[in-house]
């Protein structure tokens, strides 16, 4: 079961990328310096595809629930009980998913009737989506730090998290930090379409998702093999 959960991470990001980037054409992001008319135009032009993309994104995000559950269970294995780390991870993960969903509902509202209202309103909704979407970096950072601590205190046998995975999490946390600054900048590398706040943290997140799936899979396999040996002996 936990291995299925682990795979859900990759399934989620693949589905999400297809809906978000290919269908809704929201990658690369709309510019935060674009005028209200340009933004409204985008939504009017691509209305149907953006809506389908959002619908798909909304449905693919929930695939991450089993993935996040698997992470919680692995951390609980390290702690041996429902301790601080498990609950912190649980809370951060629980906030992370609705934050995504609500952001997309706002974007759905932007794409709902862009041709029947002043472009400024569409722009405001669009702003709200991007600031939210990039600005929720904090909930990801907390998950990374929790996992890093879990990897460093891990004394389970066979190992639940390898130590390099702890360092990888520290790295992702450091890179995600600029995303939290995105509300300050309208332009440049820290704006919501900037290299430091969007592309680098995004790439780090994808690497993290694949690494997490790999780590959970191999540690569950090792655990099952150890348990099978125990039963045989």
């Amino acid at each position: 079961m936990q291995r299925i959960g682990a795979w859900c991470g990759i399934v989620m990001i693949v589905l999400f990328s297809i809906f978000f980037s290919v269908m809704a054409k929201l990658f690369p992001p709309l510019s935060p310096t674009a005028s209200a008319d340009e933004i409204a135009d985008f939504f009017v032009q691509h209305k149907i595809w953006v809506r389908f993309g959002i619908a798909g994104s909304l449905l693919s995000i929930v695939v991450s629930f089993p993935f996040l559950a698997a992470i919680c269970l692995r951390i609980r294995r390290v702690e041996g009980r429902l301790g601080m780390l498990t609950i912190t991870q649980l809370l951060a993960a629980a906030v992370f998913v609705p934050a995504f969903i609500f952001a997309f509902i706002i974007l759905a509202a932007a794409a709902f009737r862009p041709d029947q209202r002043p472009p400024e309103i569409t722009t405001a909704l669009n702003d709200l989506f991007w600031l939210w979407f990039v600005g929720i970096a904090g909930t990801i950072i907390v998950q990374n730090l929790t996992l890093a601590v879990a990897a460093f205190v891990d004394k389970t046998e066979p190992q639940t998290f390898p130590r390099w995975y702890g360092y990888l999490n520290l790295w992702v946390a450091t890179l995600s930090l600029p995303g939290g600054m995105t509300v300050v900048f309208n332009d440049g590398p820290l704006a919501w379409n900037g290299v430091f706040s969007f592309y680098v943290p995004g790439a780090a997140l994808v690497i993290w998702l694949f690494a997490t799936t790999f780590v959970i899979n191999s540690s569950v396999k090792a655990q099952q093999a150890a348990e099978a040996d125990l039963v045989a002996a």
């Binding site: 390099w164 360092y167 590398p189």
Partner: protein, 189 residues
């Protein structure tokens, strides 16, 4: 060191996931800066000349000195001279704090001369890149403080020593990134 031909990686191998990862990302940041600079070379060059090269050079020397202190501290810790190790680490932290002080002085001087991050793209990148580096300096100071606590231990296990080495490597990375940053922002015309 029973087998001197065996090449040993300092710290735990996992530390290098973070160190190399960080280097790659700063590499991306540097390339981004170069691309932006290529779009407006005159603006960037005029703005570059308003930076305080003297302060930049001083900061480079300050960080190099602190790195040297960390090297001394690590050597002292390996041979069990804990008092020297602690003193060298305090000196390294002192240098780190001096770096932060000089950086703040630079920021204030630039901002009060009307060269704040909003002035043009050079200053925007200057503040963001040095700001991200300063964040690393703060993390590094925390790491050095952690190393000081390790000098108080009676005996260092192999894993702890590896952890200490990893921390030292992180401080060297902070130093290395600054040298690149200094060259890129202050010197390249």
């Amino acid at each position: 060191m029973s087998a001197p031909t065996v090449r040993r990686i300092p710290g735990e191998s996992g530390t290098w996931v973070f160190l190399f990862g960080d280097m790659v990302v700063f590499g991306v940041f540097f390339v981004t800066f170069m691309v932006e600079r290529a779009k407006a070379p005159e603006v960037f060059d005029i703005a570059r000349k308003t930076l305080h090269v003297g302060v930049g050079v001083t900061n480079t020397l300050v960080l190099l000195t602190s790195s040297l202190c960390v090297v001394i501290a690590l050597g002292a810790m390996r041979s069990g001279m804990k008092a020297i190790a602690a003193k060298a680490l305090y000196a390294a932290i002192g240098c780190g704090l001096a770096f932060v002080g000089l950086k703040v002085f630079e920021y204030v001087a630039l901002a009060s001369a009307g060269h704040g991050p909003g002035a043009n793209h050079f200053y925007l990148y200057y503040f963001i890149l040095t700001g991200l580096h300063l964040l690393h300096v703060f993390i590094g100071l925390g790491v050095l403080a952690l190393l000081i606590t390790q000098t108080r231990r009676a005996e260092l296990s192999v894993t702890r020593l590896a952890l200490v080495e990893g921390g030292a490597c992180f401080w060297h990375l902070v130093d290395l990134l600054w040298i690149f940053l200094f060259a890129l922002l202050y010197l390249v015309s």
